[in-house]
């Protein structure tokens, strides 16, 4: 019981990270209908930028307490946002309105570029960071097994919920959110009605990158070890989460992320660590075979 409880906590905090990345996938997919394959690598860039920020701040002696973490988060979010903007501008905008596979290949190429850019500029070796936030709260104790809720996990869950709340308000209550939803429904009509669709799409990429940067910072704080390759698997899992929840649906992305995180954690805890990815992907295949639009996705109407 206590063991399952601990896994539940771990699964939820991992799932939150996946959910944050998945939101970026699902937003971009909803608005321009393409898989942004480079999104996982944007997450990786976010993690690297927060690592750099941590080192910079600790040299300046500012890396103390919550203020330091907030600064790291802001630094990473701001610069990763610029990365998101530049990626859209360079690789996707010229292909707007082109055929479907072109942006996908461009995205795969960009993913290779980003990975190797970081490999060249930051080195191929893994970067182990000292733990910044230590300790946790003891939730319960049973037969000598202590269930611990680490402070980093509280941080992950808290920050994710806060970011998602801000994000939900942004999408549902602000003019930008309205423009985004309009573009999602019908881009041509939206532009006829005076919405600057190019700007809206750019901002969607910036927001998606910012959320990925939050996920990257949380990943760094929780796991402490990053390298240039972490983006691929995290990206695939997050995309799986987005598809599982029903692509295009924002609550679905978070739900899918939580499910993938939980499945992965429980599978590693009770069956085998090696096959945890197989478990996550098998669930994806099964869901799609029986629920082709995902858990919260809309049924697509086929027009002739």
């Amino acid at each position: 019981m206590a063991y399952a409880m601990q896994q539940l906590i771990n699964g939820v905090s991992l799932g939150m990270i996946y959910g944050l990345i998945a939101v970026g996938y699902t937003m971009v997919y909803g608005i321009i209908g393409m898989i942004n394959f480079a999104h996982g690598d944007v997450f990786m860039i976010g993690a690297f930028l927060s690592l750099i920020a941590v080192l910079l701040l600790s040299m300046g002696g500012l890396m103390d307490g919550p203020a330091g973490i907030l600064l790291v988060l802001l630094f990473s979010v701001a610069i990763t946002g610029v990365y998101g903007w530049a990626i859209e501008r360079i690789a996707y905008r010229p292909l707007r309105g082109s055929f479907r596979l072109a942006p996908l290949i461009s995205a795969i190429g960009l993913s290779i570029v980003l990975q190797n850019f970081v490999q060249v500029s930051q080195g191929a070796r893994v970067k182990p960071m000292e733990t910044l936030v230590q300790g946790g709260i003891e939730v319960m104790r049973e037969d000598g097994f202590v269930v611990q809720l680490a402070y980093t996990q509280i941080l992950i869950i808290g920050v994710t919920l806060a970011v998602l709340a801000i994000f939900t308000v942004l999408v549902t209550r602000t003019p930008l959110g309205r423009a985004m939803r309009a573009c999602e429904q019908d881009r041509k009509m939206a532009s006829l009605l005076g919405i600057d669709t190019d700007r809206t799409i750019s901002l969607t990429f910036v927001i998606g990158a910012a959320l990925a940067a939050v996920a990257g910072t949380m990943y760094l704080l929780r796991y402490g070890v990053i390298d240039f390759y972490i983006g691929f698997l995290a990206g695939v899992k997050a995309f799986t989460a987005a598809v599982l929840g029903g692509i295009g649906s924002l609550p679905g992305a978070v739900l899918g992320g939580l499910l993938i995180g939980l499945i992965e954690t429980f599978w590693s805890a009770y069956f085998s660590v090696q096959y945890k990815d197989v478990a996550a992907f098998s669930i994806l295949v099964l869901t799609l075979v029986f629920l082709p639009t995902g858990l919260l996705g809309r049924q697509e109407v086929e027009k002739v």
Partner: protein
Amino acid sequence: MSAAALAPPRPAGRVQLALKDALIATAVAAILFVPMVALRTDVGTAGALALRYRWTDAAILCGLVFLGRLLLVLWTGRRGLQPTTSAGPWTRRLQQAGRFAAPAFLIVALLLPVIPGVDRYELDLGILVLTYVMLGWGLNIVVGLAGLLDLGYVAFYAVGAYSYALLAQYFGLSFWVCLPLAGILAAFWGILLGFPVLRLRGDYLAIVTLAFGEIIRVVLLNWVSLTGGPNGISGIPRPSFFGLSFSMSGGEGTFAGFFGLEPSSVHRVIFLYYLILALALLTNWVTIRLRRQPLGRAWEALREDEIACRALGINVTTTKLSAFALGAMFGGFAGAFFATRQAFISPESFTFIESAIILAIVVLGGLGSQIGVAIAALVLIGGTELFRDLQEWRMLVFGGAMVLIMVLRPRGLVGTRTPSIALGKRRAIDGNLVGEGHG
């Protein structure tokens, strides 16, 4: 009010606009590069991470961005580079030469081993390029003809390679027995994986095939008792030439001994080269023939419009499955060849990036265009080989080339397609008119 204030503002000169644009681009580049390039995180002597400064590198990069953007804007005006599918002046000339391109390529490919100056290195490179040409042609059946987006093609390559390696290791079967078996097994896997995904379309199909590719790789990696896990399988037997081995002893029953030649390791390389050339040409031939037959026409119809296909009574299930199976079969052949050529395989050779490269070859060449796939494989694989000295920059150049080619020519290097059947003269049609399928 003075007259000067009333005069309309002088339109900013072209150079001024270009300068402004380049400065903005440089500012963005500075934001991107200063933290990532100028501040390098290194594990210091104490084991803790420390920053190392490289301001010059970042400054050089920003300068390059400034110059590049300035020249680009001065050259093309503010609209920048536009994607195009229509033929420019040079492509039109290339098209006229295109009638001779395919035979010319074929002749060069056939004569490569006897061309003076071609050494072992060039032959090895030729084998590598031809392997990717074959994989590209195999995937072209699935993606280019049937319009099913498959991101896990490398799974079938892996099935073929491991089929041969395991059959040779456990049952001592020879390459020539295993080659068809590897193809058949891969085709079975294609059908097996194809069944559940038949209901899916477009990107769902893409992500599920990607997931299958990863599942197969993870299983190969972790089923240590059968596959050797991350250590892979080594000592895979080499193929023989009608029972004659390529050993260096030069005695009875070896290739060199039978033909009275000086034993040389190049013989085997030449043999492997012709083997993969034959396999690739077989793939090409089967594809071209099938395109004219009902099955191939059904694939292309499926790509253009699935609903119309259903309405016309085409069995969508068997059509999709046959495309999956045939594409997988050629992937399996290529895998068996890869295993025998390397004599060593491990799951590392079958990562997602391989699938991405093969798909990139198909799309960059032009979906459905056989010659385009061959050219793209030559450019991408041969081209990156040229940049071998750049070491870790190689893949950076590779990815950048992928983005650049797509941005400039989204329908691939070869912008036209040949219709499978035509009334009267067979004219080339624009690539834009060809559907891409929705899975």
